[in-house]
Amino acid sequence: MKMFRQIGAVTAMNFRSLPQRVSTSLVVVIGIAGVVAVLVSVLAMSTGLIRTMESTGRDDRAIVMRNGSIAETSSALDRNSAKLIVDGAGIKRDENGEPILSAETFRILSLRKQADDAEVSAILRGVGPKILAVRPELKIIEGRMFQPAVAEVIVGKSAHAQFKGLNVGDVVRSRGANWTVVGVFDTGGDAHESSLMTDAETLISIDQRGSFQSVTALLESPAAFQAFKDSLSANPALAIDVVRERDYYQQQSKTMANIISIIAYVVGGIMAVGAVFAALNTMYSAVSARLQEIATLRALGFGSTAMVMSVLAEALILALIGGVIGALLAWGFFNGNTVSTLGGAGGLGQVVFELSVSPQLMILGVVWACVIGVLGGLFPALRAARLPVAVALRAV
């Protein structure tokens, strides 16, 4: 009790003298706010990317690719294979008894960003006639669905918002064709919204590259996956890999998300070291400025612990203020902003996603701030506590 009263009394005195040290204290607050803002906003990218990729794909859909393909880009399935996959066990069937699947292929289109006119690559995905059954989440929100056998495309909502020339009625040029945009679709915020879609057969016949790249099948249930996989693997005429759709997209985004996280921690870490030194400097000067007070209180019988805790408390509270400001800055400026990947998250083309400054990220940022504050306050605090009282009184 007495100890808490000591700490409280000394801390209160420290805070009352803060106005006299406002500029040096601001250095800590601003420095830490900067670190937290950068850390949180960069991490918000990986969180946003992961969130988008996690919402892409379902457990009851499977993607079939050529054996050994890491991504759809490096896969190729000929027509025979595509036909054999139709016989796989566990595929859901429609009212006519036909299996619900979509043999797909895709091309990379060169588009320009709305924001800065930068050239970006987007995906034009050729899909099968049963695409709406395979992807019930796909809804046309403007215009209409493309027709087979004519050069028509529908564009994802995110692609429509981010890239130029994708309004209904616009024409998108690719090698061999001019595609008319006839509709805009929504797939509930997943990665497909960053792409364009058309009929696969039309796409293949236009540029005369005669194969599919993957087949996406809707299964009877998530549990039917194993049976589906086993039945295809048992067919010696097929050299294929079968993965759950959700696992596929998570795998594709993992590397990119990891890289972003690493960048966040490296940049955040370097800045944090700088902020620790700023905090050290500030707290050392705070201790120096109060040397007489500290020496006097120590002489009067205040313990070393009270001195250490009060200096730490001050550093911690300055850091906390900085941390909260930084987290709020990141939230205010970046939360909900849409950005897109540069190259493409592993064969996914340009993925447009929302930065997500979640409460957990903001808490993480504030925790970083507190760690910086404690590290920056610790040594000055120990100095205040260790200085021999007789020497400190004479130094005054």
Partner: protein
Amino acid sequence: MTALVTLRNVTKSYVRGKQKVEVLHGVDLTIETGEFLALMGPSGSGKTTLLNLVAGLDQPTSGEVLVAGDRIDRLSRGSLSDWRARHIGFIFQFYNLLPVLTAEANVEVPLLLTNLSKAERRRRVQVALELVGLAERARHKPNELSGGQQQRVAIARAIVSDPTLLVCDEPTGDLDRQNAEEIMNLLQALNRSQNKTIVMVTHDPKAAEYASRELHLDKGLLTNDTRRAA
């Protein structure tokens, strides 16, 4: 009278650079309860070092320091802090008041180390401030008070927890003659009417005249010990 402070064969040396400098050479000293002792001597004679040892601010290199029944040369740093809080009231040359606190809050500081209730702390602060004649300036901050008034606040802070011993390091060193006399009168009154034991380091022979005993130090040795009739 009983001995409040006993020093036996006390030495104190410091290391300055590579040199070991002995400041006190085997000092023996007894201070009785109720004495008002003035420690005098030239700069570097060891007055402040001796005062610091008696006040538990520093530890001797060798020898025994017995104050208020405790062998304080044997106490750890933490215990010594607690011991000072219980037994010593400090009065410094530059008052050492906390600039952000009002006079009454400054006086209350030593009481924060006790278990007294807030009301009781207030009451004692009031009494101490009345005793030094500054009750009406209780709400003023140090920078709103004159040097003499600040030293009175410091004296109130030193006596508020009713310590066993008051130690004063050049209490009039920063004051003009008139203020110095007022402070010395106050210390003398505390000694005489409250029977406070006071050990005071001073350069000022006029201030020393208020003490009941004058002790001279030179080059770390006691040279002259004079008792004055009250």
